[in-house]
Amino acid sequence: MGTLTIPLSRIEGHARVVVHFRGEEVISAHFQATELRGFDYFVQGAPAEQMPVIVPRICGVCSTAHHIASVKALEHAYQVTPPPKAVRVRELMMLGQLIQNQATSLFMFTMPDFPGEEGLPSLFHFGAEDASLAPKAFQVRRAGTNLITLAGGQFIHPIKAVVGGVTAGIPAEAAARMHRELADTLPLARQLFERYWELFVGLKERIDTLGDDAPTYYLASVEPGHAYYGDQIHVLAPDGKREASFPACDYRQYLTEVPTETSYSDGTLFKGQLLRANSLARVNMLPRMGTPLADEYLTRFREEWGHPAHAILLFDVARGIELVYCLERAIELLEENLAEGDFRVPYTPRDGEGCGLVEAPRGPLIHHYQINKGLIEQVKFVIPTQHNILAIERALEVAARRYITERGISLELERAVGRVVRAFDPCIACATH
């Protein structure tokens, strides 16, 4: 039996792909997460109210999502409802999180895969024609981190969401400045996305596939007009019909964890079936995006690839639609008065159980806490990347079969493996935590 170990780059964290084959027959393709810190163990005994400060450290890329999920889990346990304006500020944090993440995934992780016969090692290797790409990509990404800083206090490991609300609103002048910055960023993001789309179509023509396109279940906590704040979790069936909707704490009735011995990240099934989360799940689930420019892109996307769309490389294009949506949505929210009003309600800590949900860049993220005597007794982090682990492995098998044939192993295999994994934008620090 042959074994190929393919290292991965341009993803968040440490992972590799191991393909087993016999002759031209592909036996398995495993996606192995190779790091582990043990957050669900070492937070045991921590003061519950300190969780929103500890858990952002699960991931420096997704720290905002963990920060807010944590606060929402405590609010669920304490039965406290934050005022609407506090929710708005948190939504702006999430939109900043998405802008930062989608810009990074689009332009730094995946776009270098598209040009020429072999792709490029990085964003910095584009030719003269795309010389302005890197500085523009940095600028779009920075708009996202600036938005997190404004709403969340700092762009990595933010601190402004607290039980009962947020520590402060957004002063009118700062909101106006941010509004201008986002308005200036939007056309840049569109230019970059147009170029991205063009190169993506070029790639499709060269490799003549968009990868695994078998219909699948999709998981996302989005509704029209949403801002990644997460209310209910929805499941879309492979035929595009709504299959189920459930609150965060019911996750065990729908999602089962599949243990593995070859990775520090387990996978997830929906009622025994393979599922997918992340950008394509959201775009498939929403009837429309709800902002003008994003909706234009969505129409174009659906004309080209249908609805629901299933080919995995479309996760990449869906991320671009979301980048435009998040910029437009954040501009809308910044037009509201977030300077004055109620940003915080008092609360009484109590023991018990609570679940907090947000729609993180990679899908629904749940923090589930059990609190005893004010201390964390047990936690469960339900991580979006885990929902995609089995879908990644199926897509890797599809790619391996395409490029391991009676003629031998094509050099395209390694590139295809990179493209498959990056389409799902897995976050290994989160998945293993």
Binding site: A33, R37, G60, R142, H157
Partner: protein
């Protein structure tokens, strides 16, 4: 000043890399030769500077670090995990450790070391960039001439909350109830360690009402001293400013439940660092 550098990421959260990307200023003038997060390349080439983030958590981390360090003129330990093992050291308690290893040793992936170790437990380090994560300014100071770079003081100095004569009688813990927006958190009875924590972050946590958990490590005065001296200094601050019984403070600082911040200092006492090497 370096002209080429590499970024080796061990077991961490990538927050340090995100902060480096936000520093931006380097990418026109410096050759980034290796950084798997954003560049696909085979192996660490010869470089002037190797930035290492994350803790040494697995035997693969240990191997990759020792392998990469040979390629560099100097090694810079970046962030709390690389300097002291980081937040995962909260699990360095017998009851947690046992459960953790029992659950995870079955996996056929890189073997976990008994505890997360700092980078200088494996290779010599020329410079330390403290912070969780270090600010973009620190990255620029590490990669370019340090001329004009001002060393940071303490979080307390950067915080700017008003100190009062209020002397709380009980410790409120780390976060609880409504926080006064103007008054020093210690005057309100919160367990804040900003008085001996390295600044440079501009105190966003304490300004927002969250007590400092010490994520940037000890200030200059405590870097090369034992953790006992550091604990004593915190106690003295509370004795001076509050009527909270000494036992309460002592217990809070030492218990793994309340003294979350101890995680950053776990290894400082074992390997005292030269103040000159800490930015």
């Amino acid at each position: 000043m370096s002209t080429s550098f590499a970024v080796l990421q061990l077991s961490g959260c990538a927050g340090c890399e995100v902060s480096l990307i936000n520093a931006e200023g380097w990418f026109q003038e410096q050759r980034l030769a290796y950084m798997p997060l954003i560049i696909s390349s085979e192996d660490v080439p010869e470089v002037d500077t190797l930035l290492v983030s994350g803790a040494v958590r697995t035997d693969e981390d240990m191997y990759r670090l020792r392998h990469a360090a040979r390629q560099a003129q100097r090694v810079v330990a970046v962030g709390t995990c690389a300097i002291s093992g980081g937040v995962a050291n909260l699990g360095d308690r017998p009851e947690v450790r046992e459960l953790f290893f029992a659950d995870n040793e079955r996996r056929h992936v890189p073997r976990l070391l008994p505890k997360p170790r700092p980078v200088d437990a494996a290779v010599p380090v020329s410079l330390y960039l403290p912070g969780c994560p270090p600010t973009p300014e620190l990255f620029m100071a590490a990669l370019f001439d340090r001329e004009g770079f001002e060393g940071s003081k303490t979080v307390c100095i950067e915080c700017g909350r008003k100190k009062t004569r209020d002397r709380p009688k009980d410790l409120l813990g780390s976060q609880s109830g409504e926080v006064d927006p103007e008054i020093c958190l210690i005057n309100q009875g919160y367990l804040c360690v900003g008085s001996s924590t390295r600044g440079g972050c501009r105190a966003p946590c304490t300004r927002a009402g969250n007590p400092c958990v010490g994520c940037r490590g000890p200030s200059d005065g405590f870097i090369s001293r034992s953790s006992q001296e550091w604990f004593d200094a915190i106690k003295k601050v509370f004795q001076r400013m509050t009527d909270i019984p000494e036992e309460q403070i002592d217990q809070a600082v030492r218990s793994p439940q309340l003294a979350l911040f101890v995680f950053q200092f776990a290894d400082y006492a074992a390997v005292p660092r030269d103040v000159e090497k800490v930015l």
